[in-house]
C-alpha cells in the first residue's frame, strides 16, 4: 500500500499547510487576535466555523489517496471507510432505510410471473433501534473524548475563556452524533437511499463535499494573487497602469461569465478528447478537468475584488500615514507591503468567504449546463442534474435531490453567516 497524490490533492494540502502557517504567523499580532476574538464571540460564527471545519475534514479525508497492494485502483481514505458500500451495488432506486427496491420487477416463480419488490442486496434488516443505540454510544464517546481534550488545551490558553465554547461543543457533538449514526447504519441500510444505478446516495453526498470545497477554495487561490496584484497596482501607481488594468477587467467583465466558462470548458473537452494518451485513468482525467475549471472560474471572478481593492487603494494612498511614509522615504514596495495590504485585509477576507459560497452554488449550475466538473466525478451539481428527471416520475424519487440540496445548503449557509459576522467586525464602516 502506498500513497499517491492527484494534482488537486497536492494543492489542497499545500493550501492547508500555508493557511495554518499564515494563521500562526498572524496570531502573533495582538490586534489580529483581538479581531478574531471579536468574531468568535458570536454564537452564530462559532457554529458556522465548526460546520465548515467538519466539511473541510471530509474534504481532506477524501484528498488522501492511496493504492492498495495488489490492485491498481486509487482509493481515498473516505472510499476506504465506505468499502462496504462501494463493493455491493444495488440494481436501481431504493428509498432511505428501505429493505426492498423502489419499483416492482417481473419475476417468474413456479411458472407464474408476478410483479414483486425485490429485496436489496446490501440491506441486512438489522434492528434500527438497536443499531442507533450503538451508534449513539460510539458518537458520544468520540465527541466526549474530543471535548475533554480541547478543554484540557483550553486551560493553558486562559484568554479564550470568554468565547462561546459550549456552543461549539454542542454543534460538534451534534455533527459527530449525526454522522456516526448515519455511518453506523450504513453498514445495514442505505440511509439516504440509492440512485438510478443503485449507488448509495449518502456516500455520493459525502464524496461531493471534496468537489464543492475544492472549487470554492482553490478558485480563490487563482483569484487572490490576480486581484491583489492588479488592484493594488492600479490604485497605487495610477496613470497608464491604471488605464490598462481597468481596460483588462472591463473587457473580461463584459463577457457573460457563464458563456466564457462554457466556451473555455468546451474547448478543453475538444483538446482532451484529441489527446486521450495524456491521462492513464479516468480519475486523473476528471482531476485535470477540475483543475482547469478552477482556473477558468478564477479568471472570470477576480474582477469584482480587483475593482474593490483598486478603489480602496486609491483612498488609502491619500491617507496621512501613507503620505508620511512617503515623506520619510519608504520605498514604494515598502509602503504597499506595510501600509496598503494590511489595510485591505478585511475586504479580501470578506470577499473570500462570500465568494466561496457563491462558487459552491455556481458549481451546481455549471454542472447542470454541462460545463461543470467531469460527469464521472461525484458532485452535488451532477447529483442534481441526474436526479432532475426523477421528480417527473410517479411516485417521486426525492432523496437524491434532497440530500444534495441539504449538504449544499448547510455548507453555503455557514459560509454566508460567517462572512456576515466577519463583515460586522472587520468593516471599519460599522464602527460608529
Amino acid at each position: 500500500m502506498h500513497l499517491t497524490f492527484l494534482w488537486t490533492d497536492i494543492m489542497v494540502w499545500l493550501l492547508v499547510v500555508s493557511l495554518v502557517f499564515w494563521g500562526w504567523n498572524l496570531s502573533k499580532s495582538h490586534q489580529v487576535q483581538q479581531q478574531w476574538h471579536e468574531i468568535f464571540r458570536s454564537h452564530v460564527a462559532m457554529i458556522s466555523v465548526v460546520v465548515l471545519l467538519f466539511y473541510l475534514f471530509f474534504a481532506l479525508l477524501d484528498s488522501l489517496h492511496f493504492i492498495r497492494s495488489g490492485s491498481s485502483e486509487m482509493v481515498s481514505l473516505l472510499d476506504w471507510l465506505f468499502t462496504h458500500q462501494t463493493q455491493v451495488s444495488e440494481r436501481t432506486y431504493s428509498a432511505p432505510f428501505a429493505t426492498v427496491e423502489y419499483t416492482q420487477s417481473l419475476m417468474v416463480k413456479d411458472g407464474i410471473s408476478q410483479q414483486v419488490y425485490l429485496p436489496l442486496k446490501h440491506v441486512t434488516g438489522a434492528s434500527i433501534l438497536l443499531q442507533s443505540l450503538w451508534a449513539l454510544l460510539l458518537g458520544g464517546a468520540i465527541s466526549g473524548a474530543l471535548i475533554v481534550l480541547h478543554r484540557h488545551w483550553r486551560k493553558r490558553e486562559a484568554h479564550t475563556s470568554e468565547l462561546p465554547w459550549r456552543t461549539a461543543y454542542i454543534t460538534l457533538s451534534f455533527l459527530i452524533l449525526l454522522f456516526t449514526w448515519l455511518y453506523w447504519l450504513s453498514f445495514d441500510y442505505h440511509v439516504l437511499g440509492t440512485d438510478k444505478v443503485g449507488g448509495d446516495v449518502f456516500y455520493q453526498s459525502l464524496k461531493s463535499i471534496r468537489t464543492g470545497v475544492l472549487i470554492g477554495v482553490l478558485t480563490t487561490l487563482v483569484t487572490l494573487p490576480l486581484a491583489i496584484f492588479l488592484g493594488v497596482s492600479a490604485g497605487f501607481f495610477r496613470g497608464w497602469v491604471d488605464d490598462l488594468i481597468q481596460y483588462i477587467y472591463t473587457t473580461l467583465n463584459s463577457i457573460p461569465s457563464v458563456l466564457l466558462i462554457a466556451a473555455a470548458v468546451l474547448l478543453m473537452q475538444v483538446i482532451m478528447d484529441a489527446h486521450p494518451q495524456w491521462f492513464s485513468t479516468t480519475q486523473e482525467r476528471s482531476d485535470i478537468r477540475l483543475l482547469f475549471l478552477v482556473l477558468i472560474l478564477g479568471i472570470t471572478s477576480w474582477t469584482g475584488l480587483c475593482r474593490l481593492l483598486r478603489a480602496e487603494t486609491l483612498k488609502l494612498s491619500q491617507v496621512e500615514f501613507v503620505t508620511a511614509a512617503r515623506a520619510f522615504g519608504v520605498s514604494k514596495m515598502g509602503i504597499i507591503r506595510r501600509h496598503i495590504i494590511p489595510n485591505l485585509m478585511h475586504i479580501i477576507l470578506i470577499s473570500v468567504v462570500l465568494d466561496f459560497s457563491g462558487l459552491v452554488l455556481t458549481e451546481a449550475v455549471l454542472s447542470y449546463v454541462g460545463v461543470g466538473v467531469d460527469p464521472t466525478m461525484y458532485s452535488w451539481g451532477n447529483m442534481i442534474n441526474q436526479a432532475r428527471l426523477e421528480m417527473a416520475r410517479d411516485p417521486m424519487v426525492w432523496w437524491s435531490l434532497f440530500s444534495a440540496f441539504i449538504f449544499m445548503f448547510v455548507l453555503v449557509l455557514s459560509a454566508n453567516l460567517l462572512s456576515d459576522r466577519i463583515q460586522v467586525v472587520l468593516d471599519p464602516r460599522n464602527k460608529r
Binding site: T250, I255, L259, L267, V270, F405, F409
Partner: protein, 326 residues
C-alpha cells in the same frame, strides 16, 4: 451630453476588440481551423485537400493575425482575426453548424426571453426595494432580525432548488400551470407566470440584503437627522429622502443589468422549455456549436457595454451634481 455619449461609444470599441481577441483566441488558436475541419468532416480518411476545400468554403483559409503574402495594410486586415471581427461588428453572425441563420434566430428568440426576464426584473426590483424599506423602517426589531435570518437562508439555497421545487409544487402536485412550454401572444401568460415567480423568489434573499444595507447607510447621514429634526414623520423621511438618495448606488447595480435582460436566463429557460436566447445558448453549448456561442458572447458584451453607458446617463438624471463629459 451627445458628445459624451459619442466618446463613450468610441471607448467601447477597444473593449469590443479585446472581447473579440479573447473569443478569437479561444475559438481559433486553441481549436484551429484545421481541427475544426477535421471534426466537421469526420475523423476518418480526411485528406489535406479536403481540409483546404472546407476552409475555403467557410472562409477560414486566411492566416490568423499577420498575412505575409499581402502588402501594406492588407498584411493586417487580410487576416482571419480582422475579417471575423468585422463580421461581428456588422452583427453578421453567419450560419450555425446546423446551417441556420444565427442573426435571424436571435431576433426571433428575443421576445420569449424578454417576456420572462423583463417582468422578473421589474417585479423583483419593486418587491426587494419595498421589503428593504420596510425592514429599515422597523430596524432592530424582531421583524428585521427574523427577516434577515430568512434572507440569509434564502440566499444559501441553490437556484436550481427553487426551480425544481416550484415545478413540483405548482405543476405536478397542484396542477395550476403547465410544467413547461411556450405559446405566443396572451396564451403565453400561463407558461411564463411560474418562471417569473421563481425568478423573483430566488433573488429576494440577496436583493433585500443589498438594498437594506444601502438604505441603512443613508439613515446614518446628516440630512436624515435634519429631516427628523424638522419634524418629518419617519415614513416621509424614508420614502422621500432616503429612497431618493439611495437611488444612486442602486442605479450603479441595476441599470447595467437592463440591456442584458435580452440575453435571457440560461437555467430558467432550459428548465421551462422557453424558446428564448438562454435555451438557445444552452443547446448550442450542448451541441458544441461554436458559431452560436461566439455570437452570443459578442452580443452579451455589447449589451453589457450599453448598460455601462446607460448607467452613466442615468446618474445625470438622478443626481444634478454629476455632469458628464467634464
Amino acid at each position: 451630453m451627445l458628445g459624451y455619449i459619442v466618446r463613450r461609444i468610441a471607448y467601447a470599441i477597444p473593449i469590443l476588440v479585446g472581447v473579440n481577441l479573447i473569443t478569437f483566441m479561444l475559438f481559433f488558436m486553441v481549436n484551429t481551423p484545421d481541427d475544426m475541419a477535421r471534426a466537421q468532416l469526420g475523423a476518418k480518411r480526411v485528406t489535406p485537400e479536403m481540409i483546404e476545400a472546407w476552409k475555403i468554403d467557410k472562409g477560414y483559409d486566411k492566416p490568423l493575425f499577420i498575412n505575409k503574402e499581402a502588402s501594406g495594410v492588407g498584411r493586417i486586415t487580410d487576416t482571419l482575426f480582422v475579417q471575423e471581427s468585422l463580421k461581428l461588428f456588422r452583427f453578421d453572425f453567419g450560419l450555425s453548424d446546423a446551417n441556420r441563420n444565427i442573426a435571424k434566430d436571435i431576433k426571433e428568440r428575443m421576445i420569449p426571453s424578454l417576456s420572462i426576464a423583463l417582468p422578473t426584473f421589474l417585479i423583483a426590483l419593486i418587491t426587494n426595494i419595498s421589503l428593504a424599506l420596510l425592514l429599515v423602517l422597523f430596524r432592530g426589531s424582531v421583524l428585521d432580525t427574523g427577516m434577515m435570518m430568512i434572507a440569509v437562508m434564502m440566499m444559501s439555497i441553490s437556484g436550481l432548488f427553487y426551480i425544481i421545487a416550484g415545478q413540483v409544487l405548482f405543476s405536478k402536485i397542484w396542477h395550476w400551470v403547465p410544467i413547461s412550454g411556450y405559446a405566443s401572444g396572451w396564451e403565453s401568460i400561463k407558461f411564463v407566470i411560474l418562471p417569473i415567480l421563481i425568478g423573483v423568489l430566488s433573488g429576494i434573499g440577496s436583493g433585500v440584503r443589498w438594498y437594506r444595507s444601502i438604505f441603512l447607510e443613508q439613515m446614518n447621514q446628516d440630512y436624515v437627522r435634519t429631516a427628523r429634526a424638522k419634524g418629518l414623520s419617519e415614513i416621509r423621511v424614508m420614502f422621500v429622502h432616503v429612497l431618493k438618495n439611495g437611488m444612486l448606488p442602486i442605479l450603479t447595480g441595476v441599470v447595467v443589468v437592463i440591456p442584458t435582460l435580452f440575453m435571457g436566463s440560461l437555467i430558467m429557460e432550459s428548465f421551462f422549455g422557453i424558446p428564448g436566447l438562454g435555451s438557445y445558448t444552452i443547446d448550442a453549448i450542448n451541441a458544441q456549436d461554436f458559431a452560436i456561442v461566439k455570437a452570443m458572447v459578442f452580443l452579451g458584451s455589447v449589451l453589457y457595454i450599453v448598460g455601462l453607458i446607460l448607467t452613466d446617463i442615468s446618474y445625470t438624471l438622478f443626481d444634478p451634481r454629476v455632469k458628464l463629459g467634464e
